[in-house]
Every structure is written in C-alpha cells, then in structure tokens.
C-alpha cells in the first residue's frame, strides 16, 4: 500500500530508540513496538505497510552484530510475549510464547529435574530469537541445535495467517535458522532434558597447542555431555592454540538440593565484598592488548597448576552461563564495542584454519581477547551453520581507528573459511559480504524463493539482511 506522502501515517515520535547488537559495535535507530499478543504483531505489520517502513523482529537483542536492528525501521520487540502456554512437569514439554527466555525455562523446569535441552552462554535470549538463529550450546556435538529439540512452532506470516509447523516440515527447517526473515514465531513447543541433579562433573585439562585441543575433544566425544575449550589467542608458533579444555557430564549422584533455584543462582559479590555489577570497571583498564595478553597468560599458566586433569563439581547454571558470571562485562568494551567472529570448519581442516586465523590476527596486531572452541555436528536446517567439525569464536575489540583493518582481517579469514568448506553463523556475523553467501549453496535460492512466497513485499528486514543483500529486490 503506497499512500501519497501527505496521507502517510506518522510513526509515534517518542517510540524511537537506538538499538544495538550484543557487541555494541552495530547500532541503528528504529521505532519500538512491543506487542503482547498476536493481534499486536499484526498491528505492527499493518503499521509497517501503512508507513512504508520495514520491520525487524527482535528478542533480547543478543545477536552480536546487526541481525536484530534495522535503521529507521520498526523494531518488533517480542520480549513482552513471555508467557508459558502450558508446562507439563511429568513430560518436560513446555509450550511458550516467543519472548520466554532460557532463564524462564530453566527456572520453571529445574525444580522438577528438567533442564533446557540447548542453552547459550547467557541465559537471557528469548526462545523466539534463539530459534530464529537456531542457537547451539556446548552440547552441540551430542544433541544438535535448539531447533533439533523443538517439536512444533506456530508461524505468523505477514499476511496475518498462522500455521503450525512440525519438526520434520521443510518450512520448519527454513524458519528455524533464517533469523526471523520469513515470519514471526508465535508459539514454541520445546522438550526439556531430564537431569539427575542440578550439577555437572567437570573435567579440566590444560592444553598446549591446536592438535592437543582437537585430540582432547575427540577423546571424550563419545561420552561427554558438554565440551568447550578456552583458547589464549596470544599464544604463538608452537604455543598457538594453547588453552584450557573442559568436558562435563550430568552428575548422576542424586542431590535434590541442587535442583533448587536458590542453590543455582550465582553469588552477587566477588570475594564476598565487591558487587559483581561493578567488576567491569576493573576490567576496563585491562581491556587492551597489553592487559589482555597478561590476563590470558595468567589464565593459561594457572590452568597448568590449578585443577589440571582433575574433576570438580559445578552447578548447571554456573557451568552453562559463563557470560552472565560478570554482569555487564561488555561495558569494558565501551564506547565502541566489539565483534564476535565465529566460523565453523570441517574436522580435517580445523587445526590448520584456526591456526591461520590466529596467525593473521597476530600479524595485524589485532589479537582476539577471547577465543572459544567447540565441537559440532552437521544438521539439515536451511541456513545451518554447523559442520562435522569445530568452531572457533573470537572476540575482537572494535575502535574507530582499527575498524577498517579489522574488517580487512575478517574478510581474509572469511576467504580461508570458504576455501576449507566451512560455514558462518548469522548470530555472530558482522563482516560477511554478499558474495560470501555462496557457502549456502542451493539453499540460498530456496530461502529467496520462500521469502518471495511468504513475504513478497519484504516487510521483514534487518540491517544484516541488507548488508548481505540476502533478499535482492
């Protein structure tokens, strides 16, 4: 509908806000709409059509880059649609609105011994957003992605129709993973995992180099429930890839106390005195190459002596949600923020490609301040990011001066990934270019055909989709 300019509705001027990605480097102003019902979503879609604007779905806004922002568009924040439609404590099946968070899910499930099947490093993503991105956890190699553990969703398309999609439907496997660009997920039926207690047994091992990293994962891939490894990206030459590997198993020793929320919640203070909400202020002066080289080295060195090759017990919350351990740690990256660069490389190429990525970063004097290695298994979602192999997630500080160099570095690393048959992940992407999308193969055309069928006017849009020219006009 293209009304003459004078008749066009004006959007409410006091609804405009600045929105940012989790990395705070991507920002854009948009008009905030917070529906509480599906009718509210339909009204937002109608508003977009009447005002000639586009609409970006947003959950908690925890994608690192520009996936949930849209310059001068309408931002459809689904965080207020956060009710449970049903919860069965016998079967562990929850039916949720899209704004229900992973935090709500574990708080609801754990007292009865149920834990979300797949969790991210922070507990605050909404299920709608997490499913749009098809997030994975440290158990990806065992249980797949979140989408693999959801039985059913309701999809609201921009024509106002709601359809129910089952796990096996091709459209289910397209909607999950396509970042909200085909329609809005309005209901999610998710299966929680029965856990014997609220604890995990964690094995730690200090790792000297890349090959030892992958060996540690392969050795425990059969039996471990979770695996993750930290990488010190300042390690050079023979020490490249050094870090600290963790494998974890659900603790089978029944311990009903550990299922209680109050025994899972993290203490609000460090050393009993310093409020955690203030810890980022102490990190900020260290948030540069010298400080981070020192912190990484200190962590690696201590990993050789403290708890190396030993088991310890940890609460599921403390083990799973490492990003929540120090609240607001991201603020140490202000004012310009950071990007996370995570790429997925087939098993046989992983050690070589990751070593090259780190070497290129070091040569550019742009070492990531944090590196995290995980093991994955392939899946059949339309925009799947997983491979039979490994992913390395790297946090790069962004500054006004380094951005062009950082972007050039990422473009070179992207080329390495493409050449090795690797894949990318929209939730972490800030640097892909339209040509890089060939990693999707024929699935890209399938996505575009679905878009033209379900949203021919391209009402649903994002800064990321625009940057990637995901849906050419």
């Amino acid at each position: 509908m293209d009304l003459p300019k004078a008749q066009r509705l004006v959007l409410s001027p006091d609804s405009i806000r600045e929105f940012e990605g989790f990395g705070m480097a991507a920002r854009a102003d948009g008009y905030l709409v917070q529906p509480t019902t599906t009718e509210g979503i339909n009204e937002a879609i109608a508003l977009a059509k009447q005002t000639g604007r586009h609409l970006v779905p947003r959950g908690s806004g925890l994608s690192y880059g520009d996936a949930s922002i849209l310059a001068e568009g309408i931002v459809l924040d689904l965080g207020k649609m956060n009710r449970f439609i049903s919860w069965d404590r016998e079967t562990g099946i929850a039916e949720c609105e899209p704004g229900v968070t992973i935090e709500q899910l574990w708080r609801t499930g754990l007292p009865n011994g149920w834990w979300p099947p797949v969790v991210s490093g922070t507990m605050f993503p909404t299920l709608g957003g997490a499913l749009g991105m098809n997030i994975h956890g440290k158990n990806n190699f065992q249980v797949g992605t979140l989408g693999d553990n959801v039985d059913e969703i309701d999809l609201l398309t921009v024509d106002g129709q709601i359809q129910t999609l089952q796990q096996g439907d091709p459209l289910f496997r397209a909607v999950v993973s396509s970042a909200g660009m085909l329609g809005i997920i309005t209901r999610i039926k998710v299966r929680l995992k029965k856990v014997p207690s609220g604890n995990v047994k964690v094995y730690a091992e200090s790792i000297p180099n890349w090959q030892a990293q992958l060996d540690a994962f392969e050795k425990r891939a059969e039996l471990a429930d979770y695996m993750v490894s930290w990488v010190d990206c300042f390690g050079k030459g023979a020490a490249s890839g050094r870090g600290l590997f963790h494998a974890a198993w659900y603790d089978k020793d029944a311990d009903s106390e550990s299922l209680l929320e109050m025994n899972q919640d993290l203490p609000p203070k460090v050393f009993g005195i310093l409020p955690k909400s203030q810890v980022w202020r102490f990190l900020k002066p260290l948030n540069n190459r010298i400080g981070m080289r020192f912190l990484n080295l200190a962590k690696h060195t201590s990993s050789k002596f403290i708890g190396n090759r030993r088991m310890h017990k940890q609460g599921l919350v403390a083990f799973s949600f490492l990003l929540d351990y120090v609240p607001d740690w991201r603020k140490a990256y202000l004012p310009t923020g950071f990007i996370q660069y995570q790429t997925f490389i087939p098993k046989t190429e992983a050690a070589r490609v990751f070593a090259q990525q780190i070497r290129l970063s070091q040569e550019a004097k742009l070492e990531p301040f944090l590196g995290v290695l995980k093991k994955h298994r392939p899946d059949s979602f339309l925009l799947s990011h997983a491979v039979d192999g490994y992913s390395l997630a790297l946090d790069y500080k962004v500054t006004e001066r380094n951005w062009s160099n950082l972007e050039a570095l990422c473009h070179r690393m992207n080329d390495l990934v493409r050449a090795s048959g690797g894949r990318f992940y929209l939730a972490k992407d800030s640097t892909l270019r339209p040509d890089d999308l060939d990693y999707l193969g024929p699935n890209l055309q399938v996505l575009r055909d679905l878009k033209n069928q379900l949203d021919p006017e391209h009402i649903l849009d994002s800064d990321q989709a625009r940057r990637l020219n995901l849906f050419p006009r």
Binding site: K5, A6, R8, V10, L11, P13, D14, S15, I16, R17, E18, A28, D29, G52, R53, A71, E72, E400
Partner: protein, 242 residues
Amino acid sequence: MPKYRFAIVVGASSGIGREIARQLAQSGCRVAAVARRYDRLEELRQSFPDFIIPAEHSVTDYDAIPALFQDLTGKLGGLDLIVYASGAMPKVEENEFDFQKDRQMIEVNDLGAVAWLDQAAERFQNTKHGTIVGIGSVAGDRGRLKQPVYNASKAFLHTYLEALRNRLSRHGVKVVTVKPGPVQTEMTAGLDLPKAITAESAAAIILKKSARGGEHYLSPIHAVIFFIIRNIPSWIFRRLNV
C-alpha cells in the same frame, strides 16, 4: 570536525547553510538539504549525487514539518546532526517599524527553528545521541537601534537553544549555539561589512565547534568584544551608536 553520518540542514540553499551542507557531503555524510529554492538544492545534489537529498520546503509551513522530518530521517537512514541555518534579515531603516518585515523575521528565525528543532530534540531525547546546531548571531547579544526585531529574534533563539541544552545534555545530546559576526552571504549582500568572513570559512568553523555543546563565537576576538558589549550597562548602551 566530528564524523557525522546523517544530517539535516535546514536553509541549505545559500549562505552558511549551503556551505555546511556542502562540507558535510564532502566529508561523506548523507545530508538532507532543506530549503524553499529547489533549483539551488538540485545544483548541490548534482555535485554530490550520493550524499545530498534535496527537500523543497518553506520553514513557515509548520504543519508539514513532523511528516517531512520523519520522511527525511527515513531516507537518510538515521540522524546524528541537525543544523538550523534558515534566517531572514530584511533591510530595516533606523526609523522604520514594519510589522510585515518583523513578522517574517520571527517566523523564519524563531518559529521555524522551534518547529524543526523540537522534532530533532524529541528524537534525540529518545535515541540518546545527536547534535543540534542553531545559527544564532552576535546581533542577538543586545537590543540595538538598527535591528530591534532581528536582535530579539536571535536572542530568542539563543535562549531557546540554551533551554534545549539543559534538557538534553543529560541524555547525551549536544546542543550547540554558534554566534557568527558578519559573514559574506546573500542575506548581508547590501551591507557594508569590511571585516566579514566568507561563508565557507564560517561553515568550517561551525562544524568544528559542533564537537562541543555550548555557545560559541567564531573567533576569540569576538568572544572578547562581545563579552564587553554584553556587559555595558543599559544607561550607557542607549547613548552609543552601535
């Protein structure tokens, strides 16, 4: 000058406004250039086709402003700077009291400014970032015998911008008042201004000064002279021929 990405310049067809729009476009900023004389804007657009979005508009068409403001911010893809550079200064004789001329000055210099900058202020208050620049004048520092309403209209603008600054600085928004002295523009073409600077250098100084909220004269000499002039007691000032 600070790096701007998206700007609206109201009064971009001539003088300081046109120069500001031109220099912003040259720096890689997308600029919505607003003015009555569309052909002048079209010239500007032809010099910077990727950076200038021309918009024909009379600032006294107040009712059209909210929709136009939203339309332009949409076309720009954001907003981090608005410059209100429209100004009227018709020739007024020392013994003349012409309401039509006076009204025109108040409408263009004040009401138009309020209509546009209120839009920007509301937006920036919500987005928590942005810069508002108003072109005041040294003429607004005192009421003088040659230009009663021009003086008063600029004094209004200064006070209005000061109030905006007090409202918005707590939201991370900069409000900048610049007070140029004589500048060679069409508005001052009929006047004998030996010390006037070019619009080009005035615009460059203004953009540089926009990095810091507050009131700025364009030169340190003006700051001294007008500090003195502001503080001359009225019973002396009325006897002076300035």
